[in-house]
Symmetry: D2
Subunit: 303 residues, 4 copies
C-alpha cells in the first residue's frame, strides 16, 4: 500500500472519532479553534511529500518552535548552553515551577517552559527581539523551503496578556541569575516564537533538517541532529514523553496548538495536527495518528 493510501486510511479512521480531547483554553486566541480539524503530512528525505486532511491550514506551532530555537541556540553557543539548562526529563508538568526551585534555577531541559525561555534568552544575545524573530522565521522558511510562514500577532498578544505563569517562571529564572534580559523582553520574544503558524505540510518539510539523510537541508551538523532527536525522545512530550516513546518509538515534539513534529531518522519527517489535547497537553488524535502511521510504515528507532 502506498504512503498516500495509508494516510487516507488513517484520516478516515480518525475522522470518525468523537473523543477528541480538550482544546487548550489558557491562551484565549487558541480556545476558539475548531476541534474538528485534522491534518497529517509526511515529508521524505528527498523532499517528496504526502498529505491528507487539513494539511494546508496554518496552525499555531507553539512549543514545536522550541526545536528550532534549540537548533539556533546550539549553533550560537554550542555546549555552553548546558550550563544554563539540563538535559533530563522533568517528571513534572510543562509549566511547573517547583522543580526550578529545587534545582536552583536550572531548568531540567530545553523543552519545558522554563528551559525554552532560557533558550530564547540565549538567542536574544545582543540582537533585538525583532531581529531574533526574523532570524528564527527565516531559519524555518529556509528549512521548509517556503516563504509563506508568519507570526500571528494576535496569538502572541493574547499569550502576553494571560501568560502569568510564564512571567512567574521568567522572574524566577531571573532571581537565580539565569535570565540575562528583562523578563518582558525575553518573554515578548518567546510569545512571538510560539505564535508562528505553519501548516502540516510546511512543518513536515521544515522538519527534514532533523532527518540525517542525504538530500535533506543541511542546517546543522549530523551530530547535533542526533542530539536534538535524543532530547525530543526523552523530553519532547512533557510528562508524557516516556509514553510517546513507548507507543510510537520515534522522537517528537508537541505543542499546545495541537501539532506534533515527529522525526523518522534517516527516512522522514511527519507533522500532524488535531487541536484537542490530553491532560498532559499533547494532541490526543495526533498521537494516535502518528502511532498508527509508524506501525503501518514499520517506522521505529528501535529496530
Amino acid at each position: 500500500m502506498s504512503v498516500q493510501e495509508i494516510l487516507n486510511q488513517i484520516h478516515t479512521s480518525i475522522s470518525a472519532r468523537s473523543d477528541r480531547g480538550e482544546v487548550a483554553t489558557y491562551i484565549p486566541e487558541l480556545a476558539s479553534v475548531d476541534p474538528g480539524h485534522f491534518g497529517l503530512a509526511v515529508a521524505l528525505a528527498d523532499g517528496k511529500h504526502y498529505t491528507v486532511g487539513d494539511a494546508e491550514i496554518p496552525f499555531s506551532i507553539q512549543s514545536i518552535s522550541k526545536v528550532f530555537t534549540l537548533a539556533l541556540a546550539l549553533g550560537m553557543v554550542g555546549d555552553k548552553l548546558w550550563e544554563r539548562v539540563g538535559r533530563e526529563p522533568s517528571g513534572n508538568a510543562f509549566n511547573s515551577i517547583l522543580q526550578l526551585e529545587r534545582e536552583q534555577g536550572i531548568p531540567r531541559n530545553p523543552f519545558i517552559n522554563p528551559g525554552a525561555i532560557v533558550v530564547t534568552d540565549v538567542i536574544l544575545a545582543s540582537s533585538s527581539p525583532a531581529e531574533t524573530l526574523a532570524e528564527l522565521v527565516n531559519f524555518i522558511r529556509y528549512a521548509a523551503d517556503d516563504g509563506n510562514i508568519y507570526i500571528n500577532e494576535a496569538v502572541a498578544l493574547s499569550e502576553k496578556t494571560t501568560g502569568h505563569r510564564n512571567f512567574a517562571l521568567a522572574h524566577f529564572l531571573r532571581s537565580f541569575n539565569n535570565l540575562t534580559h528583562e523578563p518582558e523582553l525575553t518573554l515578548g520574544t518567546y510569545f512571538h516564537q510560539c505564535a508562528i503558524e505553519m501548516s502540516c505540510r510546511q512543518l513536515a518539510l521544515a522538519g527534514r533538517f532533523l532527518i540525517n539523510a542525504p538530500g535533506v537541508p543541511q542546517l546543522i551538523s549530523p551530530d547535533r541532529v542526533r542530539r536534538i532527536n535524543a532530547l525530543m525522545i526523552t523530553c519532547g512530550h512533557y510528562d508524557a514523553s516516556g509514553d510517546f516513546a513507548y507507543k510510537v518509538g520515534l522522537p517528537g515534539k508537541s505543542g499546545v496548538g495541537g501539532g506534533i513534529l515527529v522525526i523518522v531518522p534517516g527516512k522522514a519527517a511527519i507533522a500532524v495536527w488535531s487541536p484537542g489535547l490530553t491532560a498532559q497537553g499533547n494532541s490526543l488524535l495526533g498521537t494516535e495518528a502518528v502511532q498508527a502511521l509508524a506501525q503501518r510504515m514499520d517506522w521505529s528507532v528501535f529496530g
Copy 2:
C-alpha cells in the same frame, strides 16, 4: 578498522584514566570490588562477539536484571502491568520515595527501584521465590546460550541486611495496595535477582534478544522488544537517562555494580563494566567507553 581494534583502542584509553568514580558502598559486598576492573563486549546479531579487558569476570548485574524481569512480567500479564507501574522518567533519584507518595503508590517506571519491586511482585505471582528465580536465571542462560550464570548468595544477603531503603519502598507500596506479597518475600526475590552475576561477554550475548534482527534468540515479540528499548532510552539510567540518550544515542540499562547493557537496534548488544559510579549511580568509565564505541561505530538510533 575492525571492531576488535576499536575495542582495543578504547581499552587502552580507558585504562589510562585515573578518575574512575566511586564504587557503590551501600551494599557492603560490592564495596570491596576493585575499581580498576574494566571489561567491554560486543555481540552482533548473528552471535559473533568481541571482547576486551575483564570481559570474562562475572560482576553483579544489579539493576540490569530489571530488563529481564520486565520482559518476563510483560510476557505474563501483558499491558495489565501498566496498571501498577508507569512509563515515565522519574526526574528523581533511583531510590526516591517522595514521588511515590505524590503519585499514590504507582511507581513512575519499571526501572527505578519501586517500579522494579512491583515488577518482581508480578512475576512472583503464584510461584515461590525459588521457582521464580530459577525461571529468571533460566531465561537469562537461554538468552546468553550459557549455563554458567549464577546468583551470588552473599551479595543477596548483604543487600537484605542493609536494604532499609528498599524495605521502606516495599512497605510503602504495600500501604497503597500495590504489593501483593509480603515485603520480605518480594524483596527477598528482588535482592536475589540483583545479585545475579554475569561477565561482559555473557551479558552482551544475553542482550541480543533485544536487538530485533534475524538470527537473534526470539524470546519476546518484536513489538515488545521495541517497547523495552523505548523504556531503556527514556528511563534506563535513572535521573541521568536524558544525558545518556544525548551522549550515546542508544537504549541502555545500568546497574550499581558498574555494568551497563546497551542495545544497537538491528545490529548489536554491548556490555561494559567498570565499578566506579557517577553521582547518579551509573558507571563513569562504562558510559564513556560506550559513548566512544558508538561514535567509532557510527551507531545511533537517531540516524
Copy 3:
C-alpha cells in the same frame, strides 16, 4: 455559670450534630468504634474535675501518647533529642514520607509519625519493649493518679498487621541511621504505646502535669512543661496545627482515636473524645467542643 453547666450545654449542643466526620478506618480495630460517642472532661490544677457524656469510657489515645513519650525522652537524653528530630511544623500530612527524604532522615517534629517513632526509639534505649512500655504506662498512671490504665493488645496487633506506612517510615529512618533498633522492635513498642486506652477523665487528670501551676503532679521541670506546650501549639494537630491555634488558642495534641488533650497553662487540662475525624485526622466535634469551652471559659494563651 458553673464549669459543669457549661460542659452540659456543650454536650447538648454537640449531641444534636449529625455531621461527625469519619472514624479512622486504617486501623481495623478502631474502624468499628461507634461514631456517636462523645465525652469531655476538665481537670483543674488542684485536681478538681468535671465531666460530661462518655467521659468514663476508655478510648484509644493513639498519637496523644506522643506527649508522654516526649516527656520521657527529654527526661532521658535532654536536648540531645533535637539532634535526631526537629521542632518545626511539617506542612505535610502526619504520615508523609517525602519530607523525610528531603531532610535526610531528620523528622520535622516529635508529633508527626516519623518523629514519634524516633522518640520511641530513644526511650527504648537499653530497655526491652516490655520494660519501656511498663515505664510509660506507670508514668501515665502516676500522672492520672489512677492505676486502671491499660494497653489494648488487639489494637496494637491490628496496627502491626496493617501499619505498612509506619514500617516504611521506620525502615526509611533506619536507612538514614536515625533508628538504633530494628524497625520491628521500635514499631512494636510504638504500636503498643498508641494502643493505650484512657477515658476522658483519666486523660484530663493525667494532663495536669503540663499545666505549670502549684498543686499539679511535678513530673518534669516547669521549663520543660512550657516547651512541650510550645510543641503542642505549633505541631500538635498535624497539618491543622495552625488552624487549631487560631480557633482554640490553646496547646493541644490529637489522636486518630478521636481524642484530644488540651492544656490551659496555669489553669486546667481538658480531654475530649469524639471518634469522627476531619480530613487532617483530628476529631471534628472534639475540636468544636474545645473551641466552645475555651470561648465560654475565656481560656486562651493569647491574653
Copy 4:
C-alpha cells in the same frame, strides 16, 4: 531587679558577641546596614516603656509590616480573607514557590511572602496604592502614638528593582486568579509597606494593640488580637517558627531588616533589632535577646 536593669544586662551581654549572623544582602539598600547595631525596647500595657542600645534608630521593619496589614485586611473583609490564604505553618522557606504550586495558588499563611502579597492585594481593594499606604502608615502611627514614622523610598525602590522572586510569586498567584490587581500594583504597595522604618521604641509602642489588656490602644477586637497572636506563634518566624515558640514561648514576627516584634499577652510588647540574620532569615542576636528577656521576666504564654 528592674526591667531597665535587665535590659542593660542583656545589652552588655549581647554587645560582647562576635557571631552576629549575616545581614540580608538580597535587598541592596539593606546590605549596607552596620551589623553592629543592637536595640531593645519594652512597652507595658499602660504605655510605660524601657529601652536600651540603638532603640531610637529607625530600621526597615520589612516583614513585621505583615502584622499590621493582616490587622487591616481582617478589619476590611473579616474571615473571607481565609478563602484566599491559609493559616498553617508552611514547612518551607519564606519565599518558596513550590508549595504554592502544590496547593493551587492558596498561600499557606499570611506571613510567608505569597500570603502577605495576597493580604496587600486585599487591602488595596478599590483604593490607590498611595491611599492604602497612607492608611497603613496612619494605623501604625496611631498605634505607636507617634507621627514620626515614614516609608524609606530608596529601600522600596531597591526592592522593586531586585525583587524578581516576589514578582514570580505575584505572577504565579495571578495565574491562579488569587491576585486581583496587576502584579506591579500590588507589589509596588507591598515593597513600600516593607520599607516602613521604625525604631525599637516606636515598634514596641505600636505593638501594644496586640497585648489584650486594659489601657492599650483598642484598634481591633480582643478576639482578633488573640487570633493574630496565634498566627504569630505558629507562622511568625518562617520555617523557624517552631523553634522560636520552643525557645521563647511568645508570639513574634520577624523581618529581614533584623527586627522582631514580640507580644507578651496581657502584659507587654517587645521590639528588638540586630541586623545579622540566621539562615532562616530571622535576627540572630534579636532572638537570643528576646529569649533572655522572656526568661528573666518569666514571660511565657505557656504558664
